[in-house]
Symmetry: D3
């Protein structure tokens, strides 16, 4: 986080197969599989609904009101990447719009996660290019200050290293460290498999109280029923 004016060209990306598989499971399952860690703050919302992506992070550190480095990060995108943009201070300016989206897509990006603002929402939806941001704003930016590319960044409260897996959907954005991608996938798959059976029982009217054997611990904790 503490280097400015630096672009790391060679990063180790998480395993592609694991990254893709994690996306199919969704943020909530993945986040649970990680022990309830790795989630960005809920202020991060999709700028258009329904998108669901995963990929490997290329990171960029911006400064308020300045999107110069967005052009620098574009060159570092490889097929299957998601750009994760952090900012050195809170700023809702529209750092990103349809022109940059066109460029990012041409370089292979699957989407953008930005701790700032985004614009051209209508065009982004028409293009099918998904963005998660803390704001939507037409406010333009300048190109004057160096940040960095492919350094570790804090984005919406979550630490992201270049190459980490990013999973993003209507529920938010979760970060899986590259080294943990496969173990997290295994845990998430186990969790998912487990849920199907639970869902069927609950749909049939079985109560979680019974399915999870909660009655005894609740009573032990002192729960009283009053008629």
């Amino acid at each position: 986080m503490h280097e400015l004016g630096v672009v790391y060209r060679n990063i180790r990306r998480a395993d592609r197969v694991a990254a893709d598989a994690l996306g199919a499971l969704g943020t909530s399952t993945v986040h649970e599989a990680m022990g309830r860690l790795g989630l960005m703050k809920p202020v991060m919302r999709p700028v258009w609904p329904g998108a669901r992506i995963s990929g490997t992070a290329v990171t960029v550190l911006l400064h308020p009101g300045d999107n110069w480095m967005m052009h620098v990060v574009a060159e570092q995108i490889r097929d299957g990447d998601i750009v994760v943009a952090a900012c050195s201070a809170d700023c809702s300016d529209g750092f990103f719009g349809d022109l940059l989206a066109t460029s990012f897509r041409a370089q292979g990006a699957r989407g953008l996660v930005i701790d700032g603002g985004c614009r051209d929402v209508r065009d982004l939806q028409a293009m099918g290019f998904p963005v998660w941001s803390r704001a939507v704003s037409s406010k333009g930016t300048i190109k004057a200050t160096l940040g960095s590319v492919n350094v570790p960044v804090v984005c919406a409260g979550a630490l992201v290293h270049p190459g980490d897996v990013i999973v993003a959907d209507d529920d938010g954005v979760v970060v899986v460290p590259a080294a943990a991608a496969e173990a997290t996938l295994a845990a998430a798959n186990a969790r998912e498999a487990n849920e199907a059976g639970k869902r069927a029982k609950l749909a049939a009217g079985v109560l979680g109280l019974d399915m999870y054997n909660m009655r005894e611990p609740l009573a032990k904790a002192g729960l009283r029923y009053i008629d």
Copy 2:
């Protein structure tokens, strides 16, 4: 609000017919009919658009980061109920997702109103299970602390007694005390009937200034027109 670890099994629900009829009128009409009271704060938004429900409240008091009592309240749901979940402190965690929704629905719930976070938005929309919440978040919760079920709660600034009527739509969530349900319905129906005629006149170009006889009181208050 001041009892912990208690579940009231027998509550007096508002009249079902009145509860259903209030839902058809919508939150804005019902809230006006109550003298502009009973509304939850506007931070409460539907997690997917277009839902419009009404029903009788079963209440649950949660603690931050803990959804244990959601399983306890599930057993107290009767057909036509809406679960109203309050929290002892502000927390955006995802206390509720598709598994609990499956269970709530199986018990007869029409929806959930929660002063906290919700997850699995895509699944909830696919199921058609509506939720009003202050946040969307994948963040999971633990099951460690007792709250209470069917005690009076404050949810998003509104006092809710078990059995009260809840009306929720795209405009927000309003609470009608069970004892006031029928009088409120009558007042809301009168208001609604009254509005149809007004709407026609306004559409025809009649000004509210004339329709409501506002010109004289405005002049009396000192309004000046300058050409």
Copy 3:
């Protein structure tokens, strides 16, 4: 901003052709063409997605919890106007709903921009009447206090004079002073024309780094690449 209880009947509206043409370009292009000024705060969001309008401002100054002046401004609407409502203090109350929308439309309004709350969202969407607001709330208002109509107002951080051009879409709301409408249109058109070519190049994989000749200034600013 400093007159209360006054209605200006005769205002100079911006050129209609320019106002219409600016709407087709959208807020982000227009805001850039103005030198990155004139934008309302991003808290202003459309109450239903997809609307895109432009028109000339008629302004109204409200007080918290009081929508009396909304009926006064209705009479001042001319075909092609957009009502811009400011409030003397932050208030999320629902100052506006389907009845007023019916009236505004009958008078020729294309939409409403309000630094406050709005209700009857479902009806407004069904009518196709667009509103940009800081909140959605069923909370009703009273009719007791004089504000003003067609005075300069500050709405969501932007200064609006009666007759200014308002452009509003999914990205937000921008204000173009009447006297600047045509020059802004020319600048925005030039910008738009310029963007089409850029978009094609970026889509073909040309990098912004090269298209905008950024490599030299970045190197001069000290950017280092590390393999």
Copy 4:
């Protein structure tokens, strides 16, 4: 909460001795003694630091931008009361200043807790009249709309019945139901007595891990130490 235009003259106030004694213990101890309930949201802050009061609640329900009922509640104040002002919607207007403080004090009030704004902070501090509010604002209010006095209100997320004990200090504001005042006092005193011994041990370097016998449950929960 659902009555407008009503003033209840006779309320049952909590025991004065208990109310006074609770104030000496402070909000944090009292709130713990109540099972971690009864606390207003942390947005409620003292307008000047250092005040610490307790007393019995007289309640008033206001509307946004309107402080008419503040004069109505003044007449209902008895010696040792604290006025608790709720509002039917969020509003930061300055509902209260030095004139009303002079009047409230003359009637016997010990302070004000208001879910809105307050002004004349310098004068209030000079008078030694404490106020807890969500905002400081010079914004004045009108006198046009009826609310109610001595009805149950929700103030900053907490339910307050007339006559309840209010405890307020630098940590915030807590509400103790009148019927629970003496039991809460007993529990709070026990807690306080218990804390003195703990404090001495902790000051002497004993760890909470040992004093509270946490090592075993932590190990059982899976805590691992790594050198």
Copy 5:
């Protein structure tokens, strides 16, 4: 508001005697005397308590993260001025610290009002240089972008023209248009004179209900007393 890169050297400042006298009355009295207009949003707070100033505005428009124009405005300060700094988008960066305060003071400034962040709070207090801001932040800024000096600006929701009177104290910041300074002073003085008598009556136990003759209008509005 719509000019960038311009410095107006000659501005008409409000009458100095009126500006000074308004400061002695304080923001709440002045704001009331203006008909409850002209107030900045309550997010504007003094960075250290107790300061109370008034003076004439020199204005500056900044961009997020860029304080270059603060050096440009310094040259335009005349004795008795208050610098009012607006920003083209919300930004909490620390645009101002003790070095600029030293310079502003040397040029004759009485204080700063900034719709952004401020730093070196301890030094500012030691110097006795008052600042009202929306945030305190160490975050530094760059010097890369032109804004403007002595153009009309919107600062924290209030329109400020160069030369307007600014009054700032613990209650907030109010703007009096230069042309209205003397009339506002007269109205504020009348209000203040009027308040002394009221204060004495209220302190003696007279109720506002009687002093303001509110009992009849309250009864007429339907207020009911219940024993």
Copy 6:
């Protein structure tokens, strides 16, 4: 960030002499010396004014509403440390009060930085134990869930490794990586030395425009002066 239930006992602390010296320079100077990085969000404020500390970080990761790990971290404190507490989701609960402060101090802590709430403000001030937090709240917490101690954490948007230098004062909280402590100190000292001379010139009336040679670049950027 991605380990739960782990306590690292041996951490490499930054050089003590550098840590102490950085504290004397203050957050703004240190943050500038780091290239404007390392700052926590401005929501982090001292719970009582005037404190100014520096030291080495011991870190703890908490969960919402649960302060169990605060007792675990206490044992890892060494003389001169500052505890930095992060939370897996936003929570304003009062995780820390005078008992824990007594314990932390006895173990050698200089203060606490917590991305959550704090209580017993009056006692903390009396003890002279400084805390920076995002909220003050009496709300108590439970002891049920494992977090971790001395893992890297994200606190108020800043990445903190165990052993990093923390500098905190009225302007906020800044983090200096242990490995960068000495270089940052050198840069900060150079900056500080440089400022003394600038301050004297500015106080004598020299303008920053001249002292920093800004007139030419401003003119080149297009700044126009209008008389």
